[in-house]
């Protein structure tokens, strides 16, 4: 039978290569185990993931997009960096307008700039991760209960996602804990800082008793390490401070200090199915972890949508995805909200620790243990999206 190709456009080289490569492996694994091994979709068509290296540059992504389209691919998966996603969603919108006979669909599995499902939303873009606002909402719920926190320092990468995190933090903290003083709100260049010590010194000197950061990749490794070195002993609330070498680097110095908001759940495992999935991946890639649980949802939901639409035509599939409900491996129910194409799902806050860890990260003994969960319904936030749909 035929194959359905999905272009994976993400950094496979450069400072964020590790994140991208891991994502690629997870995509391949998800496609193989969740779709292909079960006989494919639409009567036996197999999913094939075709990697394209974008070096995390928006420009290079468009170059790769052109190539992917040139190869006849109609599904584009991307996640690393909202900067790239913003460029891609624009370009895909333009492409579909100019080539209505050969549209492509954008499966955003990780770029969480809220704008993508608000001001910039369009029919061709679907986001399977919770956006930065949703996550910050959950995170600040936790922070709000910590009475000891009086001063908070915000630090992030200088691009749309970093800015979104900062803005969300200011907004939600202002609503939930107006007494907390934001003693620093800093953005640093993404992927270019060689030494985070000056930042750590500054955080330390500001007297902050908690830090919030959306940093990821090498920028999280560096920040985590520098904060550890100064001996700063305060809780750090993060989006992506785990795996890809980060957990290993932070090690014991971050125990019970680092909290992370995500849509997935590592420990304790919730059921057999997810355990098998994790174990299967680990067996195949002993040096890697499931870093982005949503990838499984993306692949699974795409397959379901195709079955539902009875075709692999992107327009039909997109229409099928709108409003679709999907049961994830964790047993959660995920809904693709039709109005803005934002997946609504439970959000969890986990802590970095080495106790009660079944699935550790970086083979370090440390891992994420879930402390609290926000239900899908509670996590949903309103959207300002006004979407044009093809007739």
């Amino acid at each position: 039978a035929d194959t359905i190709k999905i272009a994976f456009i993400d950094p496979l080289s450069g400072p964020f290569a590790a994140t991208g490569t891991n994502g690629l492996r997870e995509f391949e694994f998800a496609a193989d185990t969740l779709v292909n091994a079960k006989g494919g979709v639409l009567g036996g068509q197999q999913f094939v993931i075709v990697p394209f290296d974008n070096k995390i540059s928006p420009k290079e992504s468009l170059v790769q997009l052109k190539r992917a389209i040139g190869e006849g691919i109609q599904y584009i998966a991307q996640g690393n960096s909202s900067g790239v996603a913003n460029a891609l969603t624009d370009a895909i919108k333009k492409h579909n307008k100019r080539n209505p006979d050969k549209p492509v669909l954008f499966l955003n599995y990780s770029a969480v700039d809220p704008a993508l499902t608000n001001a910039k939303c369009n029919f061709w873009h679907f986001r399977f991760d919770a956006n930065a606002d949703i996550k910050m909402n959950a995170l600040t719920d936790v922070i709000a209960q910590e009475d000891g926190i009086k001063k908070i320092y915000l630090i992030g990468q200088d691009y749309s996602f970093g800015k979104a995190v900062a803005a969300a933090a200011v907004k939600f903290l202002g609503e939930k804990r107006p007494d907390i003083e934001i003693v620093g709100n800093e953005l640093h260049p993404i992927g270019k800082v060689k030494d985070f010590t000056p930042y750590a010194t500054k955080i330390r000197a500001s007297g902050a008793d908690a830090v919030i950061t959306g940093n990821w990749g090498a920028d999280m490794v560096g920040l985590g390490k520098a904060i550890g070195d100064t001996g700063l002993d305060v809780p750090i609330y993060t989006y992506y401070a785990a795996k890809n070498g980060i957990t290993k680097t932070i090690g014991a110095s971050g125990k019970n200090k680092i909290r992370l908001v995500h849509e997935g759940n590592d420990n304790p495992p919730l059921n057999e199915e997810i355990t098998a999935y994790y174990t299967g991946f680990k067996a195949k890639y002993p040096d890697m972890d499931i870093t982005q649980y949503r990838i499984a949802n993306t692949v699974g939901m795409l397959a379901d949508a195709m079955e539902k639409a009875g075709s692999s035509d992107p327009v039909a599939v997109a229409k099928a995805l709108e409003g679709m409900e999907f049961k994830t491996l964790n047993g959660d129910i995920l809904t693709m909200r039709a109005e803005d194409h934002q997946a609504i799902q439970p959000i969890r806050i986990s802590v970095h620790t080495d106790e009660n860890v079944t699935f550790d990260a970086d083979n370090s003994g440390f891992g994420l243990v879930t402390e609290s969960t926000v239900t899908a319904a509670d996590s949903a936030l309103p959207s300002t999206c006004k979407m044009d749909r093809p007739s």
């Binding site: 496979l12 080289s13 492996r25 694994f29 290296d53 540059s57 928006p58 420009k59 290079e60 468009l62 170059v63 052109k66 190539r67 389209i69 040139g70 190869e71 900067g83 913003n86 460029a87 624009d90 370009a91 333009k94 100019r98 200088d158 691009y159 749309s160 260049p189 993404i190 067996a283 195949k284 890639y285 002993p286």
Partner: protein
């Protein structure tokens, strides 16, 4: 198009076709290319080539013709791009009515303006001082582009829509082919202009200043002014290339003016051959091909590209054009035929050697990065198990035997080469 050959044609008795033949051929080639490579990838690659051809040629005005080693040429390219994309957006807003196809002019102009500003102090000296100022200015601009979000759009850059201008002969530039013709037209015109520039007094003196700046001052030319003129013209053309980039990709980002882009253009010009007018054109073509095609076939293509660069610098100091030009004496003496067999004798084992090495690398890479239980891999359509001995043996034989045979052939090849190029050798060289 080497210099010396050119002065020889100074007389105007040369027949029309001979004189303009190259240009006519170039024109025809530009016209028919999209019919030969009509796929999306083909068009995409050719568009990129066109942009890089202009960019690399403008760079060579500095390095090859003026002896100025710049590490910051992307500044003019990038600024040209940003300017053009802004104008593209003005056109889209309707606040400005202008044909899209002339947009690169704005790119050129801003390139020119910045070249005038920066050149006014950087061209005072050549050599390391110039190189380092260009590096500094380049990094400065790149870093500033992340800070001044209003103009540069920060990390995400600025995007636009090229289809919003008044159409030209029914071209609205929605399709890549139309953009191809736009780029081709610009390539034709700018390549012509840049070639002509090298034949003007300012262009000739740029050469002279490169060769011996002090002496130029004693025949009436201020070295600084000579460099400045080249620098400005070069900035202008780089800006045009940037404008075309903006039209083609509809996005311009910090990368367009950062050190990497500056490095790439340096590499293209050098690999092609800075000593020849056509060098950078060839460099741009080869580089683009490598970048867009090699990456289709292998994960570790960058490793190969790296090896290729290093080898080119080591063994072809005058670039690919230099290698081609090395054959002119033999060609003139009609002895190319006598080189065929020696080339085959050394070429086949060499290819086997390279195939062996590449195969080895690919297999190692596969073993290391593929999932644990996946031992099957396929190379050039052949599928095999990397955990069995056979493939490794095959690869080793290819590499070792090929390498050994190639080595034994070096002597005969050198000899054949000497005879083919030696004007005194009688025709016995041809028959052997």
């Amino acid at each position: 198009m080497s210099e010396i050959a050119k002065t020889a044609t100074a007389e105007n008795s040369v027949p029309f076709v001979k004189r303009y033949g190259v240009w006519i051929g170039f024109f025809i080639m530009l016209m028919v290319m999209p019919y030969i490579f009509s796929s999306n990838v083909g068009l995409y690659t050719m568009n990129l080539m066109g942009i890089f051809i202009i960019f690399a040629l403008s760079y060579n005005m500095l390095l090859g013709q003026g002896g100025m080693l710049s590490f910051g040429h992307a500044v003019y390219f990038g600024l040209g791009g940003f300017m053009s994309v802004h104008f593209m957006n003005y056109i889209e807003d309707g606040s400005f009515i202008f044909p899209m196809w002339l947009l690169p002019i704005f790119g050129g102009l801003i390139g020119l303006v910045f070249a005038i500003i920066i050149g006014s102090f950087s061209t005072r000296k050549a050599g390391t001082v110039f190189a380092m100022i260009s590096l500094g200015v380049g990094e400065l601009m790149a870093a500033s582009s992340l800070i001044f979000v209003a103009f540069f759009g920060g990390e995400e850059g600025v995007s636009g829509d090229r289809t919003m201008g008044p159409p030209l002969f029914g071209f609205d530039f929605a399709q890549d082919v139309q953009v191809y013709y736009l780029i081709a037209a610009w390539v034709f015109v700018t390549v012509g202009l840049m070639y002509l520039f090298s034949r003007t007094p300012a262009g000739r003196m740029a050469n002279a200043v490169r060769d011996n700046a002090e002496r130029a001052e004693f025949v009436g030319y201020s070295q600084r002014k000579v460099r400045f003129v080249s620098f400005c013209v070069s900035g202008f053309f780089a800006g045009i290339a940037g404008g075309l980039f903006a039209i083609n990709f509809e996005i311009v980002t910090e990368e367009n003016l950062n050190a990497l882009t500056s490095g790439v253009v340096l590499l293209m010009a050098f690999i092609g051959g800075v000593g020849f007018f056509v060098g950078p054109i060839i460099g741009a073509v080869v580089f683009t091909l490598l970048q867009s095609i090699l990456s289709n076939y292998t994960d570790i293509w960058q490793l190969y590209v790296g090896v290729l660069f290093v080898l080119t610098v080591m063994y072809a100091p005058h670039g690919l054009t230099g290698i081609m030009m090395m054959h002119t004496p033999a060609y003139r003496m009609k002895r190319m035929g006598s080189l065929l067999v020696p080339y085959l004798r050394i070429g086949i084992p060499t290819i086997s050697f390279l195939a062996g090495v590449a195969g080895f690398l690919e297999m190692i890479h596969h073993v290391r990065s593929a999932p644990v239980d996946e031992t099957l891999m396929s190379l050039v359509g052949i599928e095999f198990d990397t955990h069995s001995v056979m493939p490794w043996v095959v690869i080793a034989i290819l590499a070792v035997v090929g390498g050994y045979l190639a080595k034994t052939q070096v002597g005969q090849f050198r000899e054949a080469w000497e005879t083919a190029n030696n004007p005194d050798a009688k025709s016995e060289g041809a028959s052997s």
